[in-house]
């Protein structure tokens, strides 16, 4: 097993990875940019190496600086987390060349699955259902028109190198096609350095369901069930759960088999996620493979009782996967809410700043994967995720109730968060009925506003705070200072 691992990431995921390393007896190296000198991941590691300015391209995205930090500390392996260099084939290849173990799939697998058209070709060849649409890039209006003709409207333009909604357009009518394709291509070129786009059928009322897989170097591949991730804002997930309320046991088994087939077809090794679109008729279509640890992996850990990061590390160290498909079973229901620094009242605009007060929810079945603390200045340069609040309970209904309780006791003061928005989503009838489609927020919460009645209570709390005696220098509120026996004791004869 590795003696030392460098975690090429920041925030909650870096903290989460280093905890598993510590439990495995592996020394940890954190890297941090100038903006992250006081970041939790940099504080909690055994060593912390500065890697440059706040700007991601000069620190967390700089392959040279990460590799130099590995060399400097003598780490044997790198865990990339998610985001940053996690799906960067060039980084994985560089590690391979330099004899550093990259905790993830081989560079070549990242490369082929990172290109969406190539990934679609691989899946189609191995019989995994794909969304009806093009299997080749198209670069001119004639090719776009021909593709559109075959697919029908509405359709979706996608960037082959894409991700995160960039270079994506929905087109409802032929007249808009050419201009939309050109715009999408420009956007993709700017974002990914590759303007290649292709066309797919648009499935308006659909769900986003993904399957977690684990594969070792010997080709032994299993799945760890699904995650339902349909509830999104700005094309980013905000609530995930497992099991999906939409899957029957038969459909779950079929999707699991398809995911394993997809992983095998791609020569996949390590933990990965096969994303599918599920239509209301129960038909599912391959969307893409995320060749890394997924943000929402904790809900899978909750229902399976497995530590995915530990399995990633063991696979990367060359160990065979000791689990068989039959060993894995799902228990209970888990939900994750992503707690971003953002303002749900202003279209989820980011809200960086200093966290003035912070209190995490606690209790049975609650886990909060967190990267911040009271007093920390949440930097403007990075992803706004503060923590992932995860609950586990016996049933979906109980998990929802547990999440509601947890959210109600989660105090984050100083930056805005969607906690109150999430409370209303979780309490809503469509969510409780499991009607979780990708248009959920647009359909049900487009004009969300904060709760009036609680606002009045908050106003009263404001007044009470102004009236209640403040703390003395020692930090002890005056109230507690009314003379009790323990105060009195100090004046007694010693």
């Amino acid at each position: 097993m590795f003696k030392k691992i460098l975690i090429a990431n920041r925030g909650e995921i870096a903290v989460r990875i280093l905890r598993t390393c510590r439990e495995m007896g592996i020394a940890t190296v954190a890297v941090y940019s100038d903006a992250d000198r006081q970041a939790l991941h940099a504080l909690e590691a055994d060593e912390a190496v500065p890697i440059g300015p706040a700007e991601p391209s000069q620190s967390y995205l700089s392959i040279d600086r990460i590799v130099a930090a590995v060399r400097q500390t003598g780490a044997q392996a790198v865990h990339p987390g998610y985001g940053f260099l996690a799906e960067n084939a060039e980084f994985a290849a560089r590690c391979e060349r330099e004899g550093i173990v990259f905790i993830g799939p081989p560079a070549e697998v990242i490369r082929s699955l990172g290109d969406k058209i190539t990934a679609r070709q691989i899946m189609q060849k191995s019989g995994v259902p794909i969304i009806p649409g093009m299997l080749e890039a198209a670069h001119d209006p004639a090719a776009w028109a021909a593709g559109a003709e075959a697919i029908g409207f509405p359709l979706l333009i996608k960037a082959s190198a894409g991700g995160g909604g960039k270079g994506m357009r929905i087109v409802h009518a032929p007249a808009d096609l050419a201009e939309a394709c050109r715009a999408a291509s420009r956007e993709a070129a700017a974002a990914f350095g590759d303007g290649t786009v292709y066309l797919e059928k648009f499935l308006p009322k659909s769900r986003h369901v993904e399957i977690q897989i684990l594969a070792d170097h010997k080709g032994h591949t299993i799945h760890l069930f699904e995650r339902e991730c349909s509830i999104q804002r700005r094309h980013q997930k905000i609530i995930e759960e497992t099991p999906s309320p939409a899957l029957s046991p038969a459909l779950r088994a079929a999707m699991g088999r398809a995911a394993v087939a997809a992983a095998r077809a791609a020569g996949y090794v390590n933990a990965g996620t096969v994303e599918f679109i599920l239509d209301p008729e129960g038909r599912f279509y391959f969307l893409e493979v995320n060749t890394r640890l997924q943000v929402e992996h904790p809900i899978t850990e909750m229902i399976t009782g497995l530590d995915l990061v530990r399995h990633q590390i063991e696979i990367a160290a060359g160990r065979p996967l000791a689990l068989t498909q039959d060993d894995v079973c799902s228990r209970g229901h888990a939900i994750e809410c992503r707690i971003y620094a953002e303002d749900p009242q202003q279209n989820f605009m980011p809200s960086p700043g200093r966290i003035a007060f912070f209190q995490e929810p606690t209790g049975p079945g609650i886990r909060n994967d967190c990267g911040v603390y009271a007093g920390f200045e949440v930097p403007v340069e990075y992803d706004p995720i503060l923590s992932k609040l995860v609950v586990h309970a016996e049933t979906r209904e109980l998990a929802i109730r547990r999440m509601l309780r947890a959210l109600k006791s989660y105090a984050v003061l100083g930056v805005k968060t969607p906690i109150d928005f999430l409370l209303d989503v979780l309490a809503s009838a469509p969510f409780q009925a499991g009607e979780t489609y990708t248009d959920f927020i647009a359909s049900h919460f487009a004009d969300w506003g904060p709760d009036r009645q609680t606002l009045e209570l908050a106003a009263i709390a404001y007044v009470a705070d102004a009236m209640a005696p403040k703390a003395q220098p020692g930090g002890r509120p005056e109230q507690a200072a009314r003379p009790g026996p323990w105060q009195t004791l100090k004046h007694w004869r010693l």
């Binding site: 605009m349 409370l423 009045e456 209570l457 106003a459 009263i460 709390a461 703390a471």
Partner: protein, 173 residues
């Protein structure tokens, strides 16, 4: 004693009477509430409002007090002590070229002296991986660009001054 507390664009008026140590009654609109209160620690208060006990969390921020009750957090400011409105993208009005949140300028799309149309993109700011294009609130000529690419900027800060094309008054801030 009366309080006028600003929340976003709204003012919440409370008529408050103290009723002894740690007791008050508060009237909001036509609703009167009897409240007992006590401080637990610097940031925590215990309230009993009409018989129901509530833990409230309060912290000072640069824009007022953040107050959390039942998982819902509100930014409140005493109108008497705030000269300006609480910061808010919407509150800054459509007449200023200012970022809606702390951000970094990633691209400047215009030059000094250039004529711009209303709605034309002027610069791109980025915060937490989200890009926002700031556009011209009215037609005119770019009088001054106050920032450079790579620079950190904050709400209310005027990034670009525009000389209005027509009879509009000039708008700075």
């Amino acid at each position: 004693m009366d309080y006028k507390l600003k929340h976003n664009e709204e003012v919440i008026a409370l008529a408050v009477e103290t009723a002894g140590d740690g007791l008050l009654s508060a009237t909001v609109g036509d609703k009167k509430m009897e409240v007992a209160f006590a401080r637990i620690s610097e940031n925590r208060l215990r309230l009993v409002v009409d018989g129901r006990q509530i833990l409230a969390f309060v912290a000072e921020t640069s824009d007022g007090k953040a107050v959390m009750v039942d998982g819902r957090t509100f930014l409140l400011a005493d109108e008497r002590t705030t000269g300006t409105r609480p910061r808010s993208g919407a509150a800054s009005g459509p007449k200023l070229v200012t970022p809606p949140m702390p951000a970094v300028v990633t691209q400047i799309l215009v030059a000094q002296g250039q004529t711009v149309e209303k709605g034309q993109g002027l610069l791109v700011v980025s915060a937490m991986k989200m890009d926002t294009i700031l556009t011209a609130p009215f037609a005119g000529v770019i009088a001054r660009i106050n920032v450079a690419e790579g620079q950190k900027v904050a709400p209310k800060q005027v990034l670009v001054d525009i000389e209005p094309a027509a009879a509009n008054e000039e708008v700075h801030g």
